[in-house]
């Protein structure tokens, strides 16, 4: 039986089920923790490190998306130290790729862009790395602009876990890591892609987009995910 526990998040008394994460319980109590890789309905991976929180009694910072609530837990989500680390994380992401917001299809609706404003990042103190990355527009309906990819792997997970196609995966390592379709073949040539577009809708930035969109025209609709997972759970 799953027990209900009580805990404190930022001095708010909160309750949650043992099988809920700190992130889920925080959201239920109106506390927004910054995040890029976590998305309700997908297996959390703890990769972006934006949702790191302080938990009393733990010397290490813990990702809210993969840490389960426990009885009497005391969580701090927004200390000066965490804010400092989050700002640096945003700076690292912006300098890693070529995020030119002014010419992006999701300009104004991008999760990375919004986080930068929210966390007070107004310039990058570290140099831009300007990687050479090639756009893949071989698919009939969608395109991949790896310049804007933050490697959150939401596309990889939604494709494997929800659509069941596993078209997306990762290749290389470190700073050379990249998302690929099938065995790094052009997306348009992929034999596993069902063209369902789920990857495009969950992508937090303009890395995956619908063709024919101009700057600022595209809105991502990730809400299907909650509906889909809920209806599947009902059917079980």
């Amino acid at each position: 039986m799953t027990r209900v526990v009580t805990l404190k998040i930022d001095d708010i008394d909160a309750t949650g089920r043992e099988d809920e994460t700190v992130l889920e319980v925080a959201i239920e109590h109106g506390i927004q923790i910054p995040r890029l890789c976590a998305l309700e309905g997908l297996t959390p991976v703890g990769a972006c490190r934006l949702c790191l929180v302080e938990v009393a009694g733990s010397s290490k910072l813990l990702p809210a998306c993969t840490t389960y609530v426990t009885e009497g837990m005391v969580v701090t989500t927004n200390s000066e130290r965490l804010k400092k680390y989050r700002r640096m994380t945003i700076e690292l992401l912006f300098t890693e790729g070529n995020h030119v917001c002014s010419v992006c299809v999701v300009n104004g609706r991008c999760e990375l862009q919004n986080l930068a404003i929210r966390l007070g990042v107004d310039h990058m103190r570290i140099p831009y790395l300007y990687p050479k990355r090639i756009v893949d527009a071989s698919h009939e309906r969608f395109a991949l602009d790896p310049n804007r990819c933050v490697l959150c792997t939401r596309c990889v997970r939604v494709c494997g876990e929800i659509e069941g196609a596993h078209t997306w995966d990762l290749m290389s390592r470190g700073i050379d890591s990249a998302v690929i379709t099938d065995l790094n073949m052009p997306w348009g040539d992929s034999e596993t892609c069902t063209a369902c577009g789920k990857c495009v809708q969950v992508c937090p930035t303009g890395a995956l987009f619908e063709k024919g969109m101009a700057v600022g025209e595209m809105t991502k609709r990730a809400s299907f995910l909650a509906t889909l997972t809920a209806s599947r759970e009902d059917g079980r």
């Binding site: 917001c101 002014s102 930068a116 404003i117 929210r118 107004d122 310039h123 831009y128 300007y130």
Partner: protein, 177 residues
């Protein structure tokens, strides 16, 4: 009372930030009573003055001329403001950083079938191989992201600076705005 001396400088950008500045409209008149616009693409003056209180820099540092200009501006400015995405991030001018200046010149001037194909090498300043945001070259005091920043944001920033306060832009503008 001495009026605050303000300069605006246009490096590698589209002048959109200056246009947005002019969009302040009526408030420009109030502003005009409090400032002296001592140097700008909008005024007719060739040399950068000796001591300026606030300078707004539009555009990225993209040529040897930009480099010389920004160093001079920094030396004679008290508060330097990176004005808009090109100055703050490199933005569109920095798109060429993945390929380098040489290949851009070749693509634009030599590859098309022109009557006399040659890259400009006289009078025009030499391009730097890597376009840099302003703060990568000289220290910057205030950053206004945006492509362009809205007139409201610009007015707010200037007003705060004129009052001697540090503007908080976190929820007023954004990259690409």
């Amino acid at each position: 009372m001495t009026r605050t001396k303000i300069a605006t400088v246009w490096l590698d950008g589209c002048s959109g930030c200056h246009m947005s500045f002019l969009d302040i409209d009526g408030a420009l008149l109030d502003l005009a009573s409090r400032i002296d616009l001592v140097y700008s693409p909008l005024v007719d003056r060739k040399d950068f003055p000796d001591s300026v209180d606030i300078t707004l820099i539009e555009g990225a540092v993209s040529s040897e001329d930009d480099l010389a200009k920004i160093r001079k501006v920094r030396a004679h400015t008290r508060t330097l403001v990176s004005f808009g995405d090109c100055a703050v991030t490199g933005n569109v001018p920095a798109l060429r950083n993945g390929v380098g200046a040489e290949s851009v010149l070749r693509r634009v001037y030599l590859e098309p079938d022109l009557h006399t194909a040659q890259a400009p090498n006289l009078v025009v300043p030499k391009l730097l191989n890597v376009v840099k945001p302003v703060h990568a070259v000289v220290p910057v005091d205030v950053f206004i992201p945006g492509c362009p920043p809205s007139a409201k944001t610009i007015l707010y920033t200037l007003t705060e600076l004129l009052e001697g306060r540090t503007p908080d832009l976190s929820d007023r503008t954004r990259f690409g705005a």
